[in-house]
């Protein structure tokens, strides 16, 4: 399985509308470009997006870099399971200091 990207819009905390990008599979050097495109498309000119990484089974430094780049210009909300493989990486590289992390399990 490679990576699949799904964009949708969800209502979050009342009237605020937040675009959500849901990713499944493995994000690496080969798919980081698609990941970047998916985030750009979802964000448009909005101030924030959520990225649901619950179904991500692998995340490499190229994907982390994409997340850092987006976190630098908008509010990024990461949805991920607290006990998955992504959570420790997010903490290890300090991404959790520049994004909002919400546990999904």
């Amino acid at each position: 399985m490679t990576a699949n990207f799904t964009n949708r819009v969800s209502a979050e905390s009342g009237p605020r509308i937040v675009p959500v990008v849901t990713v499944d599979g493995e994000i690496d050097l080969a798919t980081a470009g698609q990941f970047d495109q998916a985030l750009r498309a979802a964000a448009g000119s909005g101030p924030r997006i959520a990225v649901d990484l619950t179904g991500v089974t692998y995340l490499d430094s190229a994907a982390i870099r994409v997340l850092f780049e987006h976190a630098a210009r908008m509010q990024l909300i990461l949805l991920l399971p607290a006990d998955g493989i992504v959570a420790p990486l997010v903490t290890l590289c300090g991404l959790d200091r520049v994004v909002t992390v919400r546990a999904t399990s």
Binding site: T2, E26, D60
Partner: protein, 182 residues
């Protein structure tokens, strides 16, 4: 370590690169280093190489680094390497030029090669001249290690390391990836 001019220094330092930080944000960086030199000769030799090469690598930065060597506890090999790799010595009286300092390039040629890991003498578990299918590469590494009995975290970490090395190779060089062991 940076030293505030007076009193409590509480500065936020935002920088784009290490070079920016060292070159512009602080005028001068002072560090004191108390290293763990390891327990065996191979580690000591590796440290000697490191100590030699940072003279060249860090030469263009406004850095002052004091390495602390405990002469009562460290092995004579480590102390001998310290004498060869530091242009100045701090004595009780003064900071003096070190007459035993050797040009890093010269020293690196003289130091014995670090011993090879015995594993390097065995055939590779996976030989992939074109690692561009990273997904497959990771799966093959996982398969190879599945029966190894290592904890899942160890396997994940190793898979991550292999994938990152292959990514670097693909970003900065073209296939084939060759076995360069002699």
């Amino acid at each position: 370590m940076t030293e505030p001019a007076s009193g409590y220094g509480h500065d936020a330092l935002c920088y784009a690169s290490d070079e920016d930080m060292i070159a512009s944000a602080v005028p001068f960086l002072r560090a004191a280093l108390d290293a763990d030199f390891g327990a065996d000769r191979a580690s000591w030799a590796e440290w000697a190489r490191f100590e030699a090469i940072i003279n060249t690598v860090l030469a263009r930065y406004p850095l002052w680094n004091v390495c602390m060597y405990n002469a009562r506890q460290l092995p004579s090999e480590v102390l001998a390497a310290a004498e060869l790799t530091h242009p100045h010595l701090l004595t009780a009286a003064a900071r003096i030029p070190n007459p035993h300092f050797l040009d890093p390039a010269l020293l690196l040629r003289q130091l014995p090669r670090t011993g090879r890991d015995p594993l390097e003498a065995t055939p590779p578990g996976i030989d992939r001249p074109d690692p561009s299918d990273l997904l497959k590469l990771r799966q093959d590494v996982r398969d190879l290690l599945a029966a190894s009995g290592h904890p899942t975290e160890t396997v994940s970490g190793f898979v991550f390391a292999v994938s990152e090395v292959a990514s670097n190779a693909l970003t900065h060089g073209p296939p084939p990836a060759r076995d360069i062991r002699r």
